[in-house]
């Protein structure tokens, strides 16, 4: 017994070092493999509040830019409203919840965005997020007042897309290099694509409604290793400049999930 104490006393620095490293690694691995709630993130109440205070102060410098964006957006919304009225489409499948970005990053490999709306505003994990230009990301964690978003600029993000001209679908991922470009996988070689083709979301998953713009094809090449194109997509959202975003709430989600789970069981 005495020897154990002497041993611990002598190597206490090394032992604490190993314990701390195990602790931090378990945090890291846990966040990599599980989507469970994490108490230390900017959707946490205290951290969210302090980030919000600083952001309020910071936003004064960008008021002019924000105004311009809002005007631009207003006009595009009016146009859409006119189109809607013409089509006389009254079926309200999706709702948009408006939110402000209070924290954002683009320089990391795994970029997350924090917004100032949470579960009390009706946000749930897994909802899609877009802004007036196009797709931003998918909700990951929520607290009562804040939520965090996995942005497209995250090596773990994956979004199902559709090429406008051919209607083929592919998976949009990000390789972590440039904040302007993402990569499109799973488009087979026989598909006829061209530079400048636009990519939209599809409704295969429940996350996004049909036809939200993601970006345009910037460059593509045929890879020698497999049967797919290597496609580089020019993202239409400027991630270093997002303030107002819309969280997309799909009102028919439960109905569809129920139907689909029933189908797959049989």
């Amino acid at each position: 017994m005495r020897n154990i104490f002497i041993f611990i006393l002598r190597y206490h620095v090394l032992i604490t070092f190993i314990i701390f490293e195990i602790l931090t690694f378990s945090m890291l691995i846990h966040s990599n493999f599980y989507n469970s709630s994490r108490f230390l993130s900017s959707s946490n109440f205290f951290i969210g509040k302090s980030v919000n205070y600083f952001n309020n102060f910071q936003q004064y410098f960008f008021l002019k830019d924000i105004n311009e964006i809002l005007i631009e957006e207003n006009s595009s919304l009016k146009n859409k409203l006119n189109l809607k009225l013409k089509k006389n489409n009254l079926n309200q499948k999706t709702e948009y919840i408006e939110a402000n970005v209070i924290k954002n990053s683009t320089s990391l490999k795994r970029n997350y965005i924090t917004i100032n709306k949470g579960s009390i505003h009706g946000i749930e994990p897994g909802m899609g997020v877009c802004n007036h230009k196009g797709v931003v990301g998918i909700i990951r964690d929520i607290s009562s007042n804040f939520s965090t978003i996995i942005s497209i600029l995250n090596t773990k993000s994956l979004i199902s897309t559709r090429i406008n001209n051919t209607n083929h679908f592919g998976e949009l991922v990000w390789n972590g290099i440039s904040r302007e470009f993402a990569q499109l996988n799973s488009i087979e070689k026989y598909v006829d694509i061209a530079i400048g083709d636009s990519l939209f979301t599809n409704s295969y998953s429940n996350i996004f409604p049909e036809d939200i713009l993601i970006g345009t094809i910037n460059r593509f090449s045929i890879s020698n290793e497999d049967n797919f194109y290597d496609i580089e997509v020019n993202l239409c959202v400027d991630f270093s400049n997002i303030y107002n975003v819309y969280v997309i709430k799909n009102n028919l989600k439960n109905e569809r999930e129920k139907l689909e789970s029933g189908t797959y069981e049989k």
Binding site: F20, T24, F25, L40, S41, S105, S107
Partner: protein, 169 residues
């Protein structure tokens, strides 16, 4: 007493600078300076190693919570807190025991930058490699660590220069 107050103030101000200034201005994917490790570097050499590790963990977890990085910053900071005495013995014969304070003024430029450069590089490399979490990204992580370390060292140089000018120790 005066010294410990200085360290507490440095802890708070470096965390604030890191979170609200450096993490807000996004320069490029390759340049991600982490100035907050200056706190660990400047702790007195005689400070108990156990407490250095605890402070390293605390500091890392605070930064992790604000950047949503879940453990990468804290494991890198704990690592440099552990390696600090060993690196210190590279620049000083008695392992830093003869130094009252660690600063650019006491160590002079050459020794101070060897010390802070090694710590900076180890920290950034661990951080980026853990963040990538993929074996194949070794060389890219090395390159990013090198670029970011250089920027961090420039910032540390500016901070240390202004400190030695206005506060006569």
């Amino acid at each position: 007493m005066k010294n410990s107050l200085e360290h507490i103030l440095r802890f708070i101000s470096l965390v604030l600078i890191q979170i609200f200034v450096l993490n807000s201005i996004q320069i490029s994917g390759y340049l991600y300076p982490n100035i907050y490790i200056l706190f660990i570097m400047l702790l007195p050499a005689k400070f108990p190693k156990f407490l250095v590790l605890c402070l390293g963990l605390l500091l890392g977890i605070i930064i992790d919570a604000f950047t949503d990085s879940y453990g990468t910053h804290s494991s890198a900071t704990v690592l440099i807190s552990y390696l600090r005495p060993k690196i210190l013995s590279l620049v000083s014969i008695k392992g830093g025991e003869d130094l009252e304070n660690i600063s650019m003024k006491h160590l002079k430029y050459e020794r101070f930058f060897t010390y802070s450069g090694i710590i900076c590089f180890i920290h950034h490399f661990t951080l980026f490699y853990l963040e990538a979490f993929r074996v194949s990204e070794l060389f890219e992580s090395l390159w990013r660590a090198l670029m970011s370390s250089i920027l961090t060292l420039i910032l540390i140089f500016i901070l240390e220069l202004s400190r030695s000018k206005y506060i006569k120790i």
